[in-house]
């Protein structure tokens, strides 16, 4: 398995087929499917506990997944076959023919748990007013507007991982530890918050590691 450094060295930090948000949503869904097929869950993958899948973030904060050291771009059949091959064996891939391709297609179209999750009215405005009060994220060296926009985008990109209740997203932005909160109720993200540092206090709800992000 190639290590992450060698992956980065060959400028492999991009999903070639992801042009729109819908593409990214599909890409993340496919990554979840692959994790499920190899017996892992995405929390394990995102926390670096999976033996076969790994993840890095590109400069826009998108997560790029690797399976057995190979960058995944599951919209291409060869990658899908690779993922399924690990479970069903190459013979089945060859013998399955059209029926298998049909199954494959339906499998990858399945939606995530949070398809349709939306931001509640006023979330962006309250996030902007609250999270950046007192210049507490001035260490990022960015304007409030830029940080608010990128912060909302970061939460939106992790929308598929959010669960009802309290969600804590932790990671590094420009090498500085930052945490986000997203509170979900009735299919809506009711509020988004961002605060300095990453705490070791035990918290309720879901914790998501968004990795290292450059803003």
């Amino acid at each position: 398995m190639r290590d992450l450094q060698s992956q980065l060295a060959i400028n492999d930090r991009d999903c070639d087929s992801c042009k729109t948000q819908a593409d990214w949503d599909a890409y993340y869904q496919q990554a979840r499917n692959t994790a499920s097929m190899i017996g892992d869950n995405m929390d394990d993958v995102d926390w670096g506990f999976s033996e076969r899948m790994s993840v890095v973030s590109d400069e826009d904060g998108h997560r790029i997944y690797y399976l057995d050291g190979e960058k995944m771009d599951l919209r291409q059949y060869s990658n899908r076959a690779h993922a399924f091959g690990s479970v069903f064996g190459e013979a089945l891939l060859i013998e399955g023919g059209g029926r298998f391709l049909k199954f494959l297609s339906s499998f990858f179209k399945s939606g995530g748990d949070n398809v349709g999750l939306i931001f509640n009215k006023g979330v962006t405005e309250s996030f902007t007013k609250h999270a950046f009060a007192g210049g507490r994220h001035a260490d990022l060296g960015l304007s409030v507007e830029t940080m608010a926009s990128k912060g909302m985008n970061l939460v939106e990109r992790n929308m598929h991982l959010l669960k009802a209740g309290d969600n804590t997203l932790i990671g590094n932005i420009n090498g500085i530890q930052k945490s986000f909160k997203a509170f979900v109720q009735d299919g809506k993200v009711m509020s988004v918050n961002m605060y300095p540092g990453v705490s070791n206090r035990v918290t309720q709800g879901t914790t998501i590691n968004f990795g290292n992000v450059t803003w």
Partner: protein, 155 residues
């Protein structure tokens, strides 16, 4: 608006909006749901009530809150709160579960007096954490039973 001596299953923003003050007295309330209600422009007074679920995550009591002589039975999670232009007064209540104040920015005073926090609260706790509460016009806390400076976010 005054609601008195009632058994209320759910009270939410729709019930409260449009009033300058909303006064609940001597009620048994299953749920008050004000989660995510930014800019609540009502002076809310809740007095002598039994409340099972007090949901105020991300609620901004812009015109203040008086919570007085109530029993609150479930965990209260008050995150990203504050932003009050009038005082928040919590007085003479019994909280049977933990009361979590998380990254609240109180622009006017908050007063905690004569309460019983059976499992405590962290209004003055979590010093140095990125989510420590802040107080522009200060706070007062007198004669409370139970710790109000716990360094946790749940107990």
């Amino acid at each position: 608006m005054v609601k008195e001596n009632q058994n209320i299953y759910l009270l939410n923003q729709e019930d409260i909006k449009g009033h300058n003050t909303f006064h609940l007295i001597n009620c048994i309330i299953n749920t008050i749901d004000l989660n995510g209600v930014f800019e609540l422009n009502v002076h809310l007074v809740i007095e002598n009530c039994i409340i099972s679920n007090l949901k105020i995550h991300s609620c901004w009591f812009v015109n203040g809150l008086l919570l007085k002589n109530c029993i609150v039975r479930d965990y209260v999670d008050y995150q990203m709160g504050g932003h009050n232009r009038s005082p928040i007064i919590i007085e003479g209540n019994v909280f049977t579960s933990f009361f979590n104040f998380f990254d609240c920015q109180f622009e006017s005073r908050i007063e905690l007096n004569n309460n019983v926090f059976i499992k405590g609260t962290n209004l003055l706790g979590n010093k140095g954490e990125g989510f420590e509460n802040s107080f522009v016009e200060g706070w007062s806390a007198e004669n409370n039973v139970g710790r109000i400076d716990i360094n946790e976010v749940e107990v």
